[in-house]
């Protein structure tokens, strides 16, 4: 291919018939790969230690998310503040007609008294938004009694990934105040709790690897003192966004309000190549000596590539150059596809992006994949969240490995002749605590997961 041709190819990236930038929002969606805005705010709140969600909604919005978001995020219950313990105004018809303000006021009052939380997040669902309950002014009554915010997140306003942005929007507007800058402090955004199923382990890995180059990563979620971490956000020197679209809005907001610039990565880095690139870019922006970065990279890569030799026989003898299919949120899909292609020599057959990115981000997601895979194979890239359509798209294709949600797990062999690995929302068939594919070790773990599908059985 001449260089001229390549350029043409890039310009026409969206007119290629292998790529479907279809918008399916106007049609019904069967078993979608996300939940609603309320769910995104709810999961994000529960990701914060000390965060207490207060649902202003029907009772089903809470219990529905226990099954639809928490268990679906790698069998994670919601802790003391989530699941069946979630404070909820449980609105019924009476409140639809007469308003639910009084009930919410009582609920907030008792929640603050009973719960040992540090950050209370009132989440308005569909009912109060439709009837126009004045939730802001009720929340205002409690601002001097506790750290409390209101997130207006009617389910119809967007999906759970967008709920993550709504949560941060509320935090910035209602809680954050300017702070003195702290050199080498960065905030991590773009990893959506529960919905991005490896969130816990990924955040930990990112923190640990950055620590090695002297960067203090404020990962906010999973750590003790969540509220303190949130209040620390304006002190950061940089924000790091690990997604092609999630977390972009908050990063922009923080840039405008607190003059914090941000560094953008297409996904959480998976494996040695992506992680080394990640470290180099962060090092450059934060003025860290390149000697320090390069010596770390050398050490990590040396160890990682030696480790990758252990299962290499299994790959070369049993499943070399296999086609694979990915069905995942954009962050997961980009990192995994690049790793399997560039580091294992596997062939991307079809990639289905399930997190319904806003139209303006879709082209950049496609480009990120197409332009960064070292292979002559051009995968089909389809934006799809409907489980029926996803399965139809997977039929009669050469792929041997299917990395997707657990919805495909039971019948992957039967329906598609594929070996299955659960990597994306919803994941019901796998408990995910620290397991993840980020960083040097993460790549090795993905390698382990792939090999483990076909070695044995004894």
């Amino acid at each position: 291919m001449t260089s001229k041709n390549e350029k043409v190819n890039q310009e026409n990236i969206l007119s290629n018939d292998q790529i479907q930038i279809n918008s399916y929002e106007n049609d019904s969606v069967e078993a979608p790969r996300y939940s609603c805005a309320l769910s995104g705010v709810y999961g994000t709140t529960l990701g914060i230690r000390g965060g207490v969600p207060i649902l202003h909604s029907g009772a089903g919005c809470g219990i529905g998310q226990l099954f639809g978001t928490l268990y679906a995020g790698g069998q994670s219950a919601g802790g003391n503040e989530g699941g069946t313990s979630t404070p909820c105004s449980c609105l019924v018809e009476e409140h639809v007609i007469f308003g639910g303000e009084e009930k919410l006021r009582n609920l907030i009052q008792s929640t603050i008294e009973i719960f040992n939380g540090s950050l209370f997040v009132v989440i308005s669902g569909c009912v109060p938004s439709l009837i126009g309950d004045d939730v802001d002014s009720i929340v205002d009554e409690f601002r001097d009694k506790a750290s409390i915010i209101h997130v207006n997140a009617p389910g119809f306003e967007g999906n759970s990934f967008e709920g993550y942005e709504q949560f941060w929007d509320a935090i910035v507007k209602q809680l954050l105040t300017p702070k003195e800058k702290q050199p080498k402090l960065v905030n991590i955004f773009g990893i959506v709790p529960y919905n991005h199923v490896f969130w816990k382990g990924e955040l930990l890995n990112i923190k640990n690897i950055l620590k090695k180059i002297g960067v203090d990563a404020n990962i906010i979620f999973t750590e003790k003192d969540g509220l303190e971490n949130i209040k620390k956000i304006p002190s950061a020197e940089y924000n790091i966004v690990l997604s092609q679209w999630q977390g972009h809005e908050i990063a922009e907001r923080l840039k405008n309000k607190f003059q914090i610039p941000y560094i953008k990565f297409p996904s959480v880095p998976v494996g040695a190549k992506q992680t080394s690139e990640f470290l180099r870019k962060v090092g450059e922006k934060l003025n860290i000596s390149s000697d320090k970065i390069e010596s770390l990279i050398e050490e990590e890569e040396d160890r990682t590539y030696r480790f990758m030799e252990y299962p290499a026989d299994a790959v070369i003898l049993v499943r070399p150059h296999s086609y694979f299919a990915v069905v995942a949120d954009s962050g997961t899909a980009i990192g995994i596809t690049k790793f399997l292609t560039n580091e294992l020599g596997y062939l991307p057959d079809i990639i289905q992006i399930t997190d319904n990115p806003p139209d303006k981000y879709r082209e950049s997601i496609v480009k990120e994949i197409i332009e960064n895979i070292e292979t002559v194979v051009r995968p089909d890239i389809i934006f799809e969240a409907d489980t029926y359509n996803i399965r139809e798209n997977l039929k009669d294709r050469p792929f041997l490995f299917l990395l997707s949600s657990s919805l495909e797990a039971p019948t992957a062999t039967e329906d598609f002749g594929a070996l299955h690995i659960s990597v994306s929302f919803p994941v019901y068939n796998r408990s995910i605590l620290v397991h993840n594919y980020s960083g040097y070790d993460g790549g090795l773990q993905l390698f382990e997961d792939v090999i483990s599908t076909f070695v044995g059985p004894l």
Binding site: E93, E94, H95, V96, I97, F98, G99, E101, L130, I131, G132, D133, D134
Partner: protein
């Protein structure tokens, strides 16, 4: 079961729906029919002039208090001449959802089989409005009213509300909803007002069910907490209401009107602007008297 005549009367706020409806109820009741009037307006004053100016417990407020133990007897109150008076009720202005309130109240009445228990000949729904949302359209959907009237003056805003109602009727007519039976022209005193309304019904392929003049008798009766029929049965105004009631009871006309599109309505109103200005002056003069 005998055939019940179920009528919904719509119109913009303050245009005279409740006044007109209550007088129709009173007139029909005087004529020997069993009448029920259901106020579907969060203002809850539809039946005030039938109950001596007093407010009665509303369906929604009572549902809220009794929590599933509400009996229809608690919210169906006998007023003037044993007219059954009901007020749907609703939230305070600016909170909750009045539209959902109307749905809930009407569903409650339907569930309780009130027609079998009270066996009315005529049921009149006095409904707020511009049909701004699905809730306010409840009475014109299948299975509630079968004839719809609108009260309108020659005021543009009242005509706008009537036109919106036509849109609602048109929409629900596919699913067996109520049909239109006529415009009740209220507060019509000057010939120009009559001209405007007659032109509007021509444009929308609808009809006028009757003209009611503006009258101090009405105001006086209202101050006593009574309908004109009760307070001043021998007045001309009472006669007007009696005639209207009779013609509405016998009216078999039911059809889908042709609402004007927003632009058409605007252009139409503009074509009457000179006449309207003239009217304003006359009305102001009228006011001084």
């Amino acid at each position: 079961m005998k055939k019940i005549k179920e009528i919904a009367i719509y119109g913009k706020g303050g245009i005279g729906k409740s006044t007109t409806t209550s007088n129709i109820s009173a007139a029909l009741s005087d004529a020997g029919y069993t009448v029920m009037q259901v106020g579907c307006d969060p203002k809850s004053d539809s039946t005030n002039t039938l109950t001596g100016g007093k407010s009665i417990p509303t369906v929604l407020e009572s549902l809220r208090k009794r929590r599933g133990n509400l009996k229809v007897e608690d919210v169906i109150i006998e007023g003037f001449n044993e007219i059954y008076c009901v007020e749907a009720g609703g939230p305070e202005p600016g909170v909750g959802c009045a539209g959902r309130g109307i749905i809930t109240a009407i569903e409650f009445l339907k569930q309780e089989n009130i027609y079998e228990k009270y066996s009315p000949d005529v049921v009149l729904y006095d409904v707020l409005g511009d049909v701004v949302c699905g809730g306010f359209a409840m009475p014109i959907r299948e299975g509630v009213a079968n004839q719809v009237y609108t009260v309108s003056s020659a005021d543009f805003m009242a005509i706008y509300a009537a036109n919106n109602l036509f849109k609602g009727i048109k929409k629900y007519s596919n699913g067996g909803g109520a049909l239109f039976s006529g415009l009740i022209a209220n507060s019509v005193t000057f010939p120009a007002q009559k001209d405007i309304l007659e032109d509007f019904i021509l444009q929308t392929k609808s009809t006028i069910a009757g003209f009611i003049p503006r009258s101090l008798t009405v105001t006086q009766a209202e101050l006593w907490g009574k309908t004109t029929i009760e307070a001043n049965p021998d007045s001309n105004q009472a006669e007007v209401y009696r005639k209207l009631a009779k013609s509405i009871y016998n009216n078999k006309e039911e059809y889908i009107p042709s609402p004007l599109e927003s632009d058409e309505l605007k252009n139409w109103a503009e074509s009457w602007s000179d006449k309207l200005l003239e009217l304003r002056k006359q009305e102001e003069g009228d006011f001084k008297i």
